[in-house]
């Protein structure tokens, strides 16, 4: 299977590779620009237990990703459980009940700390005031970009962005709709709700 990720901005290459690996049979060959896309895809694939071989092709890099990956090894145990993504639903820009200021600080702290955690979610869904974390002015954009580079899909509710007049100001991940949110939650392997 071949995938052309040249010209894509981060984290799109990692997200594309992740999706392709979920369905790929055998080797996956990816064309990538040098720099962050190449490094991020290599790190992502190796982190998941795949083997990566590199070659230069027409000024771009071709990465051949082979192996079963760690996810496939764990599959037999999960056979009885749901096999969908590990989802984190973030329905607020505050963590916990209490003073707003403290809650906002804790949420920022939480998202940045996820970068140091071994098992990150496959998908983070931001709804209601949660979308303030993915839009311009958020203090966690840098952390969300880094999570994206590790294969985390960052998705924000379009209606919510619209409500807060942030539709044009989304700065991390992509816009999603209620169908994807509902489907993600009902098929998820695990859901963590904040």
């Amino acid at each position: 299977m071949d995938l052309d990720c040249r010209g894509m901005a981060c984290p799109a290459p990692v997200v594309s590779v992740k999706r392709a690996l979920e369905t790929a049979n055998g080797a996956l060959r990816v064309l990538l620009d040098d720099g962050a896309p190449r490094e991020n895809v290599r790190r992502f694939a190796e982190g998941r237990g795949y083997q990566v071989q590199e070659e230069v092709q027409d000024g771009a890099f071709a990465l051949t990703i082979t192996g079963a990956g760690a996810a496939a090894v764990a599959a037999p145990q999960a056979a009885v459980a749901k096999t969908g993504p590990a989802v984190m639903l973030i329905g607020t820009d505050r963590l916990g009940d209490g003073p707003e200021e403290l809650g906002r600080l804790l949420m920022r702290n939480f998202i940045i700390t996820l970068l140091d955690v071994a098992e990150v979610p496959d998908r983070m869904l931001f709804i209601n005031t949660g979308v303030l974390l993915t839009a311009e002015g958020s203090e966690v954009l840098e952390a969300l970009e880094k999570l994206g580079n590790r294969g985390v899909e960052v998705l924000s509710c379009g209606v919510c962005l619209d409500y807060f007049h942030k539709k044009e100001l989304l700065k991390a991940g992509a816009v999603t709709n209620m169908f994807t949110i509902a489907e993600s939650l009902t098929t998820a392997r695990t859901v963590v709700r904040l």
Binding site: E101, L105, R108, N109, I112, T113, L115, D116, E139, A143
Partner: protein, 86 residues
């Protein structure tokens, strides 16, 4: 979240670190409140990160406000080198 050459300063209370952040943001200085890196055990678990380009201004503002950090570090390679503090 801490890049090569960045400064990381730690305060001895959550109230001080929040006050410092507020003050620095009011001055539109490019700083970020981050969880204190695990290597730097801090009581409140929070730190302020900034780059060389704003260092002087950040430190002046904090000194004038009497909000000196408990400890200051600079990231070098994998290590945090202590610059000031107990």
């Amino acid at each position: 979240m801490v890049n090569e050459g960045d400064y990381v300063v730690i305060f001895n209370s959550i109230h001080r670190v929040m006050e410092a952040e507020k003050l620095l943001k009011e001055r539109r200085l490019s700083i970020l409140l981050i969880p204190a890196p695990r290597a730097l055990a801090a009581d409140c678990g929070l730190a302020i990160r900034y780059g060389e380009e704003v260092r002087q201004e950040v430190e002046e503002v904090l000194t004038q406000a009497g909000l000196m950090p408990r400890e200051s570090f600079r990231k070098q390679g994998e290590a945090f080198i202590k610059i000031e503090g107990e």
